[in-house]
Symmetry: C2
Subunit: 259 residues, 2 copies
Amino acid sequence: MTTPDPGTEVPEASAGAFRKARRTRFIHDILSQIEQAIIDGKYRVGDKLPSERQLCELFQTSRGPLREALRVLEQKGLITIKAGAYGGAFVTAVTTEQMSESLGFLLKFKGVSLAELAEFRAFLEGATAALAAKRARKTDIEHLKALIAEARAHSKRDPRHLDPLLPIDSRFHKSLAQAAGNRLFLSVLQTVYENMYQYQDKYLPREERIIKLLIKDLNEIRAAVEAGDSEAARSLMQRHVHKFNRLAEEGQKQKDKAP
Amino acid sequence: MTTPDPGTEVPEASAGAFRKARRTRFIHDILSQIEQAIIDGKYRVGDKLPSERQLCELFQTSRGPLREALRVLEQKGLITIKAGAYGGAFVTAVTTEQMSESLGFLLKFKGVSLAELAEFRAFLEGATAALAAKRARKTDIEHLKALIAEARAHSKRDPRHLDPLLPIDSRFHKSLAQAAGNRLFLSVLQTVYENMYQYQDKYLPREERIIKLLIKDLNEIRAAVEAGDSEAARSLMQRHVHKFNRLAEEGQKQKDKAP
DNA sequence: AATGGTATATTGGTAATACAATTTAATAAT
DNA sequence: ATTATTAAATTGTATTACCAATATACCATT
């Protein structure tokens, strides 16, 4: 399903009638069989695949190639492997981890700048907020309110420490994505976060006004979402993201000057 | 860099100060070393890594685990492996392939519907068009015009065949993403395409009006982009995407009725 | 001269076996 | 009841050998 599969191949550039006549490795066959079995639901999350030796029997191969295949499946995020008695290969729920890593490579090697990532994030979160404004239910709104209340409590107890607020901020954005009712937005958002995390929060200036600003922004967004005003939600969110990105950029310059 | 790396670890849920003290497998070390070497530019695209036997010497390990590591790197899209004399592991340029696959798994296992994918695509392409309207250069516009001209030529020569137009359509969208001047949009767009390809085009009704509609839509978008009207470009593009998605959905229902 | 075949050395691909390390569960000892 | 020990299953690693693919250089045929 993933690699050039003769069966489902799309005749895009059908100019050339031939494709590379590469002979498939064993592990390709093993991989696609196991993948298919998982996709077909023959193995569900939590299920244990047969032991390596048994799989060797089944596929009529030796442990070398088989372990290579298992390693690839592990990398794809489909299984996790535990050693020891009652260990083995267990089917796991897919996460955004692999997608994040792939995106990370693209960022690194394609030379995508943080500015580009921030721009993408602004669009993404803007759209997320707009959707949330249309679809958020009462419980979603309450959840957002609770998060803001939590943030306020923190800031009252300790008006100078930004760090405890950052995870709350993160949860706010993710809750919003959840309220948007499209899991794809949430997944992509998480992927973006996992890749800009290190930069964004690290360089925000640790000042009281930042905390106030953050809470104010979030609350305005919440209000727009609650009012069902999707355009306002989008606009507020985009401005918020851009604003905080600018703050982080400036903070980074400051730090670079006097480390 | 990918897996739990003590160095760059982010204190997200800094509630738990400790991370699982799992004894790292050999291949983790091997992986991170090779990955780092590639990231650091010690090996560039096209370069050949040492042969398996030599790598075994370097890492003081046997071929089994080493090959597992190479297989994982291959899966990550960092290297390709060729057999035979003068073969070996060659560093390759990263593509969107892995990200596409990861997204594909998320779609399959998280039960993300095609409707959700289409919604995401509409947002993405809308944003892309809006950006392109702001940033497209003369050469970009000319490229878009050339594609439309090509499409028109096809439709004149053969007014009934939609299929030759679909690749042109695809190129149009990708060119637009290129003109948007943010490689991230292009990468994500490609990722989405690679995952909805099979569905979208397959079920479009093969009627003459569809061809006319397609060309008309593209040209209107091109005009908005050329005029620098980003809001119009976004709106036109979003409507276009939704429209064609609806057509494909209806076509699918038709085909399901009478196969 | 051009083409096609063939040897060869290099390198990845597979197999088989043995042992080490890890982990859980059952058991024994305190 | 708690703790230490043992046993069994399973992955992790090492070694060795051989098979298969392939770029190169050389040779043969036309």
